[in-house]
């Protein structure tokens, strides 16, 4: 599978060999693309999965609970069987979408121009850093993003420090809290600026509670101290607008390391160079129902499109992107979408941005704030009136958890409008609060 000398033309070129890229390449091969090239700047495929050594991956795709490296290796094996060219230690410098070509620079190829029928963007995302948060204080060693610390501990065999404070309760932060305790590091606490954790409840249970690591909500790090190495961080409670409360007690915590798990940003420099229009909320490309960006023949999937919480949904989405990319490359494009999809009540964003009523569709979205007992409603917004097309009751919704809504062709046939709005509406509380699954 690994190549040093790529062909001059491929049906589909995939940028990034992480979970999205691997699945997109597989999807493209399965849909009949004969020549598929995967390009990755790392020395091995698998992307972030190789450092996510904890379990919890693959429940939907393989119906068992795997670690990240196991999930990756299964996809790599499947792709090896199908056959695709994998170019490592290389990246796409630039592209000329009108000519259908990309400029590759790499360890083995030097500089090469490769033509494509379709291009799939699967570059994933980057972590937000201290710079993005503008935390005041000195600039000592010992401030790391959680994902970097994860690579250091799990692959390079280097501990980031001995006494650690974690800012941000996203899943990576929670997973790293447990990981460091297992390696004998003292984790003093996890601090979260929001009034709720942005990680999964099960990770709070099994990563923090199991090891008595305190989680401090509505609290943030307001200063970093230390000359050469972090010596302390100052934490302070915040108000509803997430600003440190003036006059509140600011606590100094002696530590040598601050880990940041404060969000991920889709890595879209290349997408922008190619001219793809971005969504200001997802920070990923605007895509149609085939996951094609605003640039003809250029598709996007995985975390470069929008940050996912489960790799299974990344793989799912990327397989589809790969299939549509193959169809496009083989000269079998789908009809143009006719319905715009927009976020409505308590919905932060929806992907894709347009849908086609000619087949079953699925839209992915996130809520803006947590709700219990709600109904997802897809509303056709016409000039004269609004008509609910589909509604689905849910027990709860958290911003941390991506939601999915399936729209069958029969549902879509009901749309007599150019816009479909997705709302998440709260329902009144139940009179009898007997929990589901109750047995005596």
């Amino acid at each position: 599978m690994i190549t040093r000398t790529p062909r001059s033309r491929y049906d589909v070129v995939v940028v990034g060999a992480g979970p999205a890229g691997l699945a997109a390449a597989l999807g493209a091969r399965e849909a009949g693309a004969e020549h598929v090239l995967l390009v990755d700047r790392e020395p091995e495929p698998g992307g972030i999965l190789q450092q996510c050594i904890h379990t919890g991956f693959g429940l939907h795709t393989f119906e068992e609970e795997l670690t990240g490296p196991e999930f990756a290796e299964r996809f790599i094996d499947r792709l090896t069987e199908r056959g695709a060219d994998l170019l490592l230690g290389s990246f796409i410098l630039d592209g000329a979408p009108r000519e259908g070509a990309v400029q590759i620079v790499g360890r083995d190829v030097g500089a090469a121009r490769v033509e494509y029928g379709s291009l799939v963007l699967a570059m994933g995302c980057r972590e937000r850093t201290r710079g993005a948060l503008r935390i005041p204080g000195t600039r000592p060693a010992g401030v790391y993003t959680a994902g970097l610390a994860q690579k250091m501990v799990n692959m390079m065999g280097v501990l980031p420090g001995r006494r650690v404070v974690i800012l941000g309760s996203g899943d990576i932060g929670l997973i790293m809290a447990r990981r460091l305790v297992l390696e004998g590091v003292e984790v003093l606490g996890v601090y979260e600026i929001l009034p709720y954790s942005s990680g999964l409840n099960r990770n709070i249970a099994q990563c923090l509670n199991d090891f008595d690591i305190p989680l401090h909500l509505s609290t943030t790090v307001t200063r970093v101290g230390g000359r050469d190495r972090v010596e302390w961080v100052e934490v302070c409670p915040v108000d509803e607008a997430l600003r440190p409360i003036a006059g509140a007690r600011r606590e100094r915590i002696a530590c040598d390391t601050l880990l940041l798990s404060v969000g991920l940003i889709p890595e879209n420099e290349l997408s922008q160079r190619l001219g793809a229009r971005l969504d200001l909320v997802t920070r990923g490309p605007v895509v149609d129902s085939t996951l094609m960006t605003s640039v003809d023949g250029v598709f996007a999937c995985g975390n470069v499109l929008h940050v996912h919480d489960l790799v299974d949904w990344v793989a799912d989405e990327a397989m589809r992107a790969g299939r549509f990319a193959a169809e496009h490359a083989l000269g079998r494009p789908r009809p143009r979408d006719s319905v715009r999809v927009v976020p409505g009540q308590n919905v932060r964003y929806v992907v894709p941005h347009t849908i086609s009523p000619d087949r079953d569709q699925e839209v992915l979205f996130r809520v803006a704030r947590p709700v219990e007992r709600a109904t997802i409603v897809a509303v056709a917004v016409g000039e004269e009136r609004e008509q609910p097309i589909v509604s689905k009751k849910i027990r709860y919704a958290f911003p941390a958890e991506m939601m999915r809504l399936s729209l069958s062709q029969a549902d879509l046939d009901k749309i007599d409008a150019e816009t479909l709005r997705i709302d998440v509406v709260e329902r009144p509380p139940k009179k009898d609060p007997k929990p589901k699954g109750s047995r005596s």
Partner: protein, 124 residues
């Protein structure tokens, strides 16, 4: 293990949904339990196990020589008693393997006498 008194509340770790579970030992002839809040059979068995014999999967790393990385990711083949998790990690600090290793290879058999093997989670 003696069943605990009163209602035990916990978050299911069986899948990303994270159901809020309630477990209560009712006793009596049938050794009855009340389990509520689960959405699937995994949640029901997790709740019962969590109050009598809590177990966890352990994923960590061991040292590897002759490979492109210095650590090999490993995990327990099945969950082990929760109170042995840290002891197992300390034991694995002393394990050193040599490349090549294949995904699924046993790195430590019958870890701490639990009857559970520790296996490699990637080829390296």
């Amino acid at each position: 293990m003696t069943p605990p008194d009163g209602v035990q509340r916990m978050v299911c770790i069986g899948c990303p949904i994270g159901c809020q579970l309630e477990v209560e030992y009712l006793g009596g002839d049938g050794d009855a339990w009340r389990i509520a809040g689960y959405d699937c059979k995994k949640g029901k068995s997790y709740a019962a196990e969590e109050v009598t014999d809590p177990r966890r999967m352990v994923a960590t790393t061991v040292a590897i020589e002759g490979a492109s990385w210095r650590r090999l990711p490993v995990r327990t083949a099945s969950p082990i008693p929760k109170d042995q998790v840290l002891a197992l990690c300390r034991r694995l600090h002393a394990v050193r393997v040599t490349s090549p290793v294949a995904m699924g290879d046993v790195v430590l058999a019958d870890a701490l006498g639990t009857g559970v093997d520790v296996i490699a989670t990637r080829s390296l």
